[in-house]
Symmetry: C2
DNA sequence: CCGCTTCTGAACACGATGTTCAGCATGATA
DNA sequence: TATCATGCTGAACATCGTGTTCAGAAGCGG
């Protein structure tokens, strides 16, 4: 069976209801056990929706998750670019609204963006974080308000992104070259207290 | 059945052979299809190892991957800390050896570290990357040797790491505060050409 | 060469996926 | 309100991957 739209383009209430129930169920379930171990049946049970019904809406767990995210990201996308005239020359305008939005929907983000459940990645990341942390401690005298941890996350995140990109993309850059570029940015990032 | 060691602590050749075959099979398979869709049976077939044998060595796919990584990371770990006396005050000493190592074993890294196959994360990351890229273009005049892309990866990686940490850890920091810290580091990272 | 360990492949139980369908319930429309 | 098209249901089914078990074959170490 397949879900169509009415001639007028309206969405049947039953369809809207079912989809909302399923998405809510997913969002409720993920924080409890994590995403990976959840089954379609779990979701249906929590949502009080027949399993066969699930498949008339989504091809599987992944598609439900994807649709859920998309629907919420669309809301974020529909913001006016913070007054188009006011072209401040502050860099990285995007960050503030992102932080705001993530904070407002932090439960959703926790449920759907956090925990890829990827053991390997996490192991590797933790390794890097430790290295960065130990290099930062002792260089910075004062660390009020957990800004050390922000710096650790900042630097290690940057490093891993550059590393992953460099390995995957097979640019012509030699290890020494990427490292030089990374070093330059990383060192500057900390400012004078480094 | 369970694999033990001989009294002398030696590893039976058959055991070594089997494990090597399985690890190699995994490394061969991942670049072809990605990690997620690979089944234990696939691995066994590629490795020419009985499926029941697989389970006498590893509890599942994940454990095999974990063991494979660990075994290779151990090789990296056994490096002397680049002459302990030479305590250069160059920051982030860790990065250079990492880049070197990743380059040497780049096929392994591509196979096991790249592509978590996580659709959602990737979508989100790409969104950020685009935002960063568009903010950087136009500000930087000269972009020789793909250093723009390095900057994009650097900044977006840093942003996502900070965001993920902040959402997950529930520190007391307000959106404005995290953003301020992020902005400070990000702006500095680019140096004067920003 | 002997004895012990590992490998093998087939069989089994299990759980989750994804599909199908006949019948029921509900929303849209007039 | 009546009608009818559409969505929901639940049970049944086929399929697939997982993880276990075991008896016999093969290979290793001593």
């Amino acid at each position: 069976m397949k879900i169509e739209r009415t001639d007028t383009g309206m969405i049947d209430r039953r369809v809207a209801r079912t989809r909302a129930l399923l998405q809510d169920a997913l969002i409720t379930l993920v924080p409890e056990r994590g995403y990976a171990p959840i089954t379609v049946e779990d979701i249906c049970e929590k949502a009080n929706v027949g399993r066969s019904t699930f498949y008339t809406h989504y091809a599987g767990k992944e598609e439900l998750r994807s649709a859920t995210i998309d629907e919420h990201l669309r809301l974020l996308g529909n913001r006016q670019p913070s007054s188009p005239l006011e072209t401040s020359d502050r860099l990285f305008e995007f960050s503030r609204p992102m932080f705001e939005h993530a904070h407002a929907l932090r439960f959703l983000h926790r449920a759907l963006l956090a925990s890829s459940g990827d053991t390997i990645h996490d192991k590797f990341r933790e390794r890097i974080r430790r290295a960065v942390r130990s290099e930062l401690i002792g260089r910075r005298i004062d660390e009020a308000g957990g800004s050390l941890e922000v710096a650790v996350q900042f630097i290690s995140g940057a490093f891993l992104a550059v590393l992953a990109w460099w390995i995957a993309a097979d640019t012509g850059l030699s290890p020494a070259q990427v490292d030089a570029l990374f070093q330059q940015m990383a060192t500057r990032a900390g400012g004078r207290e480094f």
